[in-house]
Amino acid sequence: MIPLFIKEIRSFLSSLIAIIVIVVFLLAIGLFMWVFPDSNTLDYGYSNMDILFNMAPWIFIFLISAITMRSFSEEKRMGTFESLVTKPISDLQIVLAKYLAGLVLVLFSLIPTLIYYYTVYQLGAPLGNIDIGATWGSYIGLLLLGSCYVSIGLFSSSITENQIVAFILSMFLCFFCFSAFEQLSKLSLFSPIDYLLEWVGINYHYQSISRGVLDTRDVVYFLSFTALFLGFTFKMSRKGK
């Protein structure tokens, strides 16, 4: 499993996908946080990183879909999947290796934003006037959210040999799971189950963790969400075999 994980990481690096994803993510977040007049932290006047944590889930929808779209579809289209599956590595290990590689990439795109944390920390008056609990909670929330997106992306990639289809499907599913449940729950049509519907969506739990309270229920939600989609991926990757 480890050789495959390393291979996946190397292929992210050699195809420049990793670099592009990280740079685009930092650039977009940087613009929103420090440059755009409507949203920059300097004019905003409060020493927090809400802009980052509000924008990142939306930017991740694009970027994570882009990094996971190749994972299975390309292997299946090129036939390398057959070569891989017939080597002594189990299907579950293949799914996990690809998942971990995606997650590591997400992690590495988040690490440079610690500079922003340091900046806001320094700019606070008095120095260090930033809600440390909420910030770290949000980071953990963002990583867990990324984990959900990666599993959705892998699933989308496993059901089609076409990368574009995988990309679009993955974006839609990420968007739907992140935000649509919450939006739909506001419809009067769903009023009897509005709380449940909101609870199913990712955003509810993301917001909850962002407050800086690591509720086990939320963590369990994120982990089971990831496990569920990895399970679907596992099933789909071997469909018809």
Binding site: K7, R10, S11, T80, E82, S83, T86, K87, P88, K241
Partner: protein, 303 residues
């Protein structure tokens, strides 16, 4: 027994891709798996390598059942899939080290260096796989299949799409490697089987139509012989039939004839004498190679 297959069947929807085939291969044999496209060769190989689950029946490799102990089976097998899929954006070394890692080999750099030497990849070893010619890619495909010294080598059309020189090189490699191992290779080229294999299994429409030693099968094919002749001057068809041994005469263009004879007669000499006696000149004559379809027709008719 290296490979044992019993009543193996694979059904896709309505279609029986492989229909109740049974055979076994002793260790050390080089077996050719012959059949037209869509006959079920690849499907059978995919079941042997645990890529596909059989609908019914048992396949065993080195005593391990493919559905019960796939990991063990996969460790025993070296497999070159059809069309030789490779990661084109990887370097040869990088790729082979990755494969060595998956097989959990000890001393991976040494194993990789050895196989690069054996498969003649040394001059190209620092290139990306995508930059290699088809022949070298095929070597990389073979290298990844033979890297862990498998007891059983399964090759799905290892020489398809190569030029004649490359085909020869790849054949030599396979023969070298197959000296003390079991090799099963699929092809639809008869000469390939003649060149490399001790035994042939012919499959058609998912069923085995012949399973014999190569020599035995060859004798069966040679039971009828076809000769193409071109004369300079026109010849009477009935006159040609008087050549001893000739069963059938068909016209095949201007002054070109196709003669078939029963086994054991060498028509070439007789046709030459015939031409001399009738004052004619032979411009060309050649024995026709038995095409796969003819062999198939032959075999299915015999059954």
């Amino acid at each position: 027994m290296s490979i044992e297959v019993q009543g193996l069947t694979k059904i896709y929807g309505e279609q029986k891709a492989v229909n109740d085939i049974t055979f076994s291969i002793k260790s050390g044999e080089i077996v050719g798996f012959l059949g037209p496209n869509g006959a079920g060769k690849s499907t059978t190989m995919k079941m042997l390598t645990c890529f596909l689950q059989p609908t019914s029946g048992i396949a065993k490799v080195c005593g391990f059942d493919t559905s019960l102990m796939p990991m063990e089976v996969k460790r025993q097998i070296g497999y070159l899939p059809e069309h030789n899929p490779l990661y084109l954006d990887m370097y040869i070394m990088e790729y082979l080290l990755f494969v060595a890692g998956i097989y959990e080999l000890k001393n991976r750099p040494k194993a990789v260096a050895e196989i690069i030497g054996k498969t003649g990849l040394s001059p190209e070893q620092n290139k990306k796989i995508g930059a290699l010619s088809k022949g070298y890619r095929q070597r990389v495909g073979l290298a990844q299949a033979m890297l862990h010294n498998p007891k059983v080598l399964i090759l799905d059309e290892p020489t398809s799409g190569l030029d004649p020189n490359q085909i020869n090189e790849i054949r030599t490699l396979i023969t070298e490697f197959g000296k003390d191992r079991t090799v099963m290779l699929s092809t639809h080229i008869m000469q390939e089987v003649e060149a490399m294999c001790d035994r042939v299994i012919i499959i058609n429409k998912g069923q085995i139509v012949a399973d014999d030693a190569t020599d035995t099968l060859q004798k069966r094919f040679k039971s009828s012989l076809i000769l193409n002749v071109e004369f300079k001057n026109s010849v009477n068809k009935d006159y040609l039939k008087t050549i001893p041994g000739v069963d059938m005469v068909t016209e095949n263009g201007k002054n070109r004839w196709k003669l078939s004879a029963s086994k054991g007669t060498d028509l070439r000499e007789l046709v030459f004498k015939f031409a001399v006696n009738s004052g004619n000149v032979i411009l060309e004559q050649n024995e026709e190679e038995q095409k796969l379809e003819e062999i198939f027709q032959h075999l299915t008719r015999n059954q």
